[in-house]
Symmetry: none
Subunit: 415 residues, 2 copies
């Protein structure tokens, strides 16, 4: 059984929602990479008794707890005292840390409260950071251990990524690796994806490899493959297991797999355009620049993206893009917008979006109405859809994703 | 003593650090506003026994647990089963939810796995959302209660912000209210804002009202006023305290307060344009549509926003906007872009952005270089800046915020 380590984030601001705890997610990722199991993460406020209780609960369930935050110089930084209570020891003032504090203040007087940061539970070892004043702590509790690191992300990362993960791996004895890979699927709902890959659940049952699903409006469905391997060959074994499972899933999912890991829809579309040697122009109405912004988030987009026109008002649609009289939320207008922007910008391929983002209906069309026009070197088509309701922002994001996926499919067909 | 409610986020992806749990922070904020104490938040993976143990531990410590995630249609969504075990009951299939699922699929066949979402623990009540297929659950456990909501933020927010907080407040009996208000400041660094409002800290010391600062690239500096009141008059008292503190802070901050609460820079700019009866056009290069997308996120933007041109390549800058020969990352090009887009779109006011988003330098200019052009009814100016480094996305967001704040200042001067 692998070593188990929990994460405890400390700070009332985390519970009140004033600060989002991103540290725990980062620590979780590093533990997984190092093959340490992390089954539980928690947040508590700056309260002595609750921190002590949370540390004890963590040590009951697991071999180690990394606690993050509450090591600063102010009155509400009480992590040191709570750990000392769990260890059943007092605090000692560490002369080396004290000297380091004086050095950091470059001769200026050190605020008295800062000296609290030199207090260390008896039997604990400090972990010094290259920046910041708060040292981390490695605190043995019988055969188990509590680590304390500051809540400042850069200091926390330096300590956890270095000495703390090293200490954990040394304690674990065995070398285990956990790796994940994502297959990106668009245009298929999560439940349908789950049905398509259902046979794999039986095959994988009880083994070291698992699959799971994550769905979001802008990211489509991500199928996560996670595998665990032990021993000196663990990294190579883990990679082989991921490769094998990816192949099996691609067999079941076919062409709906658009990419791997960080390949967003905009990356995939850009790759298809670059491969075909085509340049894209985009005309946006309801999405108001979202599609262009997503495309230009890809480094090097200028090789396959010419630009776009945000034709937000009917007048701009008509004057700049040559859209004729008649309704602007229509299949015809979408086709005219696509053809118009391709010509105006001298591009090979063009896409257009017109529709109703809300909150009000437009031209008697309901919120969520979308028409996408595609012009592939003069071959112009349009597709209409009514996306689900929801907020204006959600409708706009769904529309951008829907249109980019249509373009992806069209480019795949064409080449 | 106030009612205690914990938050349990469910999903292996949260522990592995593949997704950052922002839901718990949001829920924590809402609980604080409603005067419900939240002393503990936790994350567990998609594992039946550990979800059950975490729910039991939460119910031991607190009166209620909101658990978030694991309600989807796939095999790893097991929250329903875990809650049923904690309640000591079985699952029943809810015919109303089943009918709702069929309706959502508009006559298409419902994937069999989706029907799992119609399973409800005996004795629990479903909470239906306006979007999405997974209903939330209110699950009494003796005198205590477990709430379950989907992990999709929009669905979670609708359910927690509405029926779940209402149910908690009804259970709490005592009416305590915690309210916050944000004053939005742009163009002034956080440390300077803190200095300007420093006198208020002494006045507020020991009272029920506090102030704090939050700074971000896209949001500027937000000065948060928080106050707490108890008793039947609590809501009115809290509002009066917020009004008084807002007035005191505005006295100190003067014209740098651009708005309140959700007034983003785009909302403030839109308001100024609408008041002046002017219509804006935007030409974007390095930001690639981000500025247009932010402006059109405001409902009713079409009354003051004509549209934009994303002139991503030099050719489009020259052909569509009439930018002359010479470098495109320059003050001259920014002025030409602004004048060109104002003319092309028939607008009153125009703004342009050209610069270097990275990762590579361009025309020997470093990453972070920005030129903003402003054309107010024919009066054309440009301003250059070198924004700090960072990722491509960070540079683009900083550039958009910088330009929108320049436009805000210019509109304030002009009218």
């Amino acid at each position: 059984m692998s070593l188990r380590c929990e994460v405890l984030a400390i700070g009332t601001e985390l519970l009140l929602g004033q600060v989002v705890d991103t540290n725990s997610a980062w620590i979780g990722g590093r533990l997984a990479e190092a093959g340490i199991s992390c089954y539980y993460q928690a947040k508590v406020g700056d309260n002595h008794d609750r921190i002590v209780a949370a540390l004890r609960a963590g040590l009951d369930r697991s071999d180690a707890v990394i606690c993050c935050g509450g090591l600063g110089p102010t009155q509400d930084d009480i992590t040191r005292e709570a750990i000392a209570e769990v260890m059943g020891v007092g605090l000692r003032r560490d002369p080396a840390i004290e000297a380091g504090l004086r050095e950091r203040f470059h001769g200026r007087e050190v605020p008295v409260s800062n000296y609290r940061q030199a207090d260390v539970p008896e039997g604990a070892s400090p972990v010094l950071a290259s920046t910041g004043t708060a040292p981390g702590l490695i605190c043995p509790v019988g055969p188990k251990v509590v680590y304390a690191v500051p809540g400042v992300p850069s200091e926390m990362r330096e300590m956890v990524g270095g000495p703390i993960v090293e200490d954990l791996v040394a304690r674990a004895g065995e070398q285990a690796t956990v790796r994940s890979r994502f297959l990106r699927v668009w245009g298929v709902p999560e439940s349908k994806v789950a049905e398509m890959v259902a046979p794999r659940f039986d095959v994988l049952e009880g083994g070291p490899t698992t699959i799971a699903f994550l769905a979001s409006v802008t990211e489509g469905v991500r199928v996560r493959i996670t595998t665990r391997a032990v021993g000196p060959e663990a990294p190579a074994q883990a990679t082989a297991a991921l490769d094998a499972e990816e192949a099996a899933l691609r067999e079941l999912l076919g062409g709906s797999v658009g990419g791997v890991d960080d390949d967003g829809l905009e990356v995939v579309v850009g790759r298809l355009l670059a491969q075909a040697g085509l340049r894209l122009a985009v005309a946006e109405s309801l999405t108001g620049g979202l599609v262009c912004a997503r495309l230009t988030s890809v480094p090097g987009a200028s090789t396959w993206f010419a630009g776009g026109v945000v034709s937000y008002t009917p007048e701009v649609k008509r004057s700049v893009l040559g859209v004729g009289p008649g309704p602007v939320v229509s299949s015809e207008a979408a086709q005219e917008m696509a053809a118009g922007v391709r010509q105006a910008l001298g591009a090979d391929v063009a896409m257009s979006l017109t529709g109703v983002a809300g909150p009000d209906t437009q031209e008697d069309r309901p919120v969520g109405t979308l028409f996408v026009g595609l012009d592939l070197q003069g071959d112009v088509v349009a597709r209409g859809a009514v996306l689900g309701g929801g907020s204006r922002q959600l409708v706009r994001e769904r529309a951008a994703t829907y249109a980019l996926d249509l373009l992806r499919q069209r480019l795949l067909q064409a080449h």
